[in-house]
């Protein structure tokens, strides 16, 4: 038995919808009869045009009036629910704004949340979600004990985005019950060259084994030569060598490239959960006992300060 209605929190990434949004609506379509989204971006017509072919029948637009999205989007959803328009399930991506809306909504509805999931199933009307813990070594399946709507969030790349279903989505303005008090006064876009970390076909990540912050340039050089994206372990993000947006792992990005190169990364469970879905893994680490070698297709037990320059020179020389 499928669910009657599912809502998805739809988000922009640049000038189009985020990949995560399309992944979620694709999955929602397979679980529910009706899929609707809440959208607080600036191009509702564009979002509707993109979402219709993915089986979405309605786009509720939320005017956040320049505030962070948590309060206005959650209050718009709660207002619909109070008026009797109640979905069985509300799906969020594990994103900055997704987490804000999810947290606020859970208080407004007094409902528990299940976050960081990688899969979902519906059996006899009961929603079950799967979360990978301990670096992906253990799979935990959970369910809710309270009534719908159930609130869930998913890691990126849990599902594959594919069009299908209804062709047009209706755009409807949703009333905002409560305006947000946290106002955005300026936006800054940090220019970045090359492919985006969580969409790149090849990722080169560096960790504490690099020794100091200056050495991270080797990771950037290699990534650029191979047309990949540079990434990082949590240890060097915490150390302030690179921004949080470079972080691969449990509390960072989930990447699934064709090739993942881990240099000077020991393979803490925190990191592994973010990259073990890569098609192939190459690891360079001086400690032969490093856990990263247990999942590497090719492991070089050696000094990154020797191997990386040799590798970079050899590729440059081709």
């Amino acid at each position: 038995m499928s669910l009657a209605k599912i809502w998805v929190f739809a988000e922009d990434s640049g000038d189009k919808l985020s990949t995560g949004t399309l992944e979620l609506v694709t999955k929602a379509r397979s679980l529910g009869d009706t899929v609707e989204v809440f959208y607080a971006g600036t191009n509702a017509a564009g979002a509707a045009a993109e979402l219709g072919p993915f089986g979405v029948s309605k786009v509720y637009t939320v005017d956040a009036a320049g505030s962070l999205l948590g309060v206005p989007v959650a209050s718009a959803m709660a207002a619909q629910i109070e008026s009797g328009n109640t979905p069985d399930l509300i799906m969020f991506a594990t994103s900055y704004d997704g987490r804000d809306v999810l947290g606020r909504l859970s208080v407004k509805l007094d409902r528990s949340v299940l976050t960081n999931n990688i899969d979902i199933s519906v059996e006899g009307g009961q929603v079950k979600v799967d979360e990978a813990i301990f670096g992906g070594a253990t799979l935990v399946t959970s369910t809710f004990t309270a009534d719908a709507p159930h609130l869930v969030s998913f890691r990126p790349k849990s599902f594959t985005a594919e069009p299908g279903g209804a062709a047009t989505a209706e755009v409807v303005a949703a009333a905002v019950g409560e305006a947000g008090k946290a106002k955005i006064v300026a936006r800054h876009v940090e220019e970045r060259e090359g492919p985006v970390l969580d969409e790149a076909a090849l990722v080169v990540s560096g960790g504490r084994g690099l020794g100091d912050a200056d050495k991270y340039s080797m990771i950037e050089d290699l990534a650029k030569l191979l047309n990949g994206a540079p990434g990082a372990s949590r240890a060097i993000v915490d150390a302030g060598w690179v921004p949080y947006s470079y972080q691969v792992g449990q509390t960072g990005k989930v990447v699934k490239p064709d090739i993942y190169i881990a240099a000077g990364i020991s393979g803490a469970t925190q990191h592994m959960v973010g990259m073990k879905g890569s098609k192939t893994i190459i690891a360079i680490n001086k400690d032969a006992e490093a856990p990263i070698f247990s999942i590497a297709d090719l492991g070089i037990v050696g000094d990154v300060h020797k191997v990386l320059p040799q590798l970079i020179d050899a590729i440059k020389g081709r």
Binding site: Y96, T138, V189, Q270, I300, V301
Partner: protein, 253 residues
């Protein structure tokens, strides 16, 4: 200015985690340490109080037992006092219940600002800051890279996918601090000695009028399919050639 920092004491993340076979809850017995993620919030709070020229930092934490060794670490860094909600009935509490407990304790302190990490290292639900703000009906700004107080306004550089946003909110407010944005101080010997006598008030869920529980339950736990290791070689000065060969096979080169 008075700041509350929500901190969590967790099992040492360097030791592989385990689930209790009966309850399926994460085992949290024995010595707990201050979650690394929280050291940034504590440091940020100390700096903000310093910059404001007065006030104090209060820690608020929840634990299923009365373990306080992690709190002592943060007190040694310079926090003035701590409130520990320790209650065996809170074992297995979900994020919303945890938020109700922490919000109840924060409401007694009535601070100008509440700081949290973006998520805990052991459970990482990641919704707590927003839930606390929702319960206390306060504005919130998540993923702060930088925090500045100007009058009764908190100004934050907030991490985004594309870069960062400058966001402002009236205080009191809840702000979650991204890891790595400040350098947490090491407790001095003097700080460690002073921390031993700093007050740690213990409360129960009942003191705060919160009913322990969880709106969710685990239905199964299984081992995920293990990934097999491939070829591991010792670098003899030509290990890089193996990588070149691998990249050629994958048609990257």
């Amino acid at each position: 200015m008075n700041v509350v920092v929500c901190v969590k004491q967790i099992p040492d993340p360097a030791i592989p985690g385990q689930l209790d076979p009966q309850s399926n809850f994460l085992k949290r017995e024995g010595k707990l340490i201050l979650d690394d993620s929280d050291a940034y919030g504590v440091e940020m709070a100390l700096q903000l109080v310093d910059a404001a020229g007065g006030g104090e930092v209060t820690l608020v934490s929840m634990a299923p037992n009365n373990e306080a060794s992690g709190l002592r670490t943060a007190l040694a860094m310079g926090a003035a006092k701590a409130v520990l909600i320790s209650d065996p009935a809170l074992a297995g509490a979900d994020a919303l219940t945890t938020a109700k407990v922490l919000a109840g304790a924060i409401d007694r302190v009535k601070p100008d600002l509440v700081l949290t990490a973006t998520e805990a290292t052991d459970g990482y639900t990641g919704t707590l800051p927003e839930q606390i703000a929702g319960i206390l009906d306060l504005p919130s700004i998540t993923f702060a890279k930088k925090i500045e107080i100007v009058g009764a306004t908190v100004k934050v550089d907030r991490q985004t996918e594309a870069g960062y946003d400058e966001v402002e909110a009236p205080m009191p407010a809840v702000v979650s601090v991204t890891a790595g944005v400040v350098e947490p101080r090491y407790p001095s010997f003097k700080g460690i000695m002073a921390a031993k006598s700093k007050p740690v008030d213990e409360l129960t869920a009942a003191d705060l009028g919160v009913t322990p529980g969880a709106g969710q339950q685990i239905v199964s736990v299984i081992a995920a399919e293990a990934r097999q290791a491939g070829e591991i070689i010792e670098d003899d000065g030509e290990g890089y050639l193996k990588i070149i060969e691998f990249l050629e096979q994958q048609k990257v080169l």
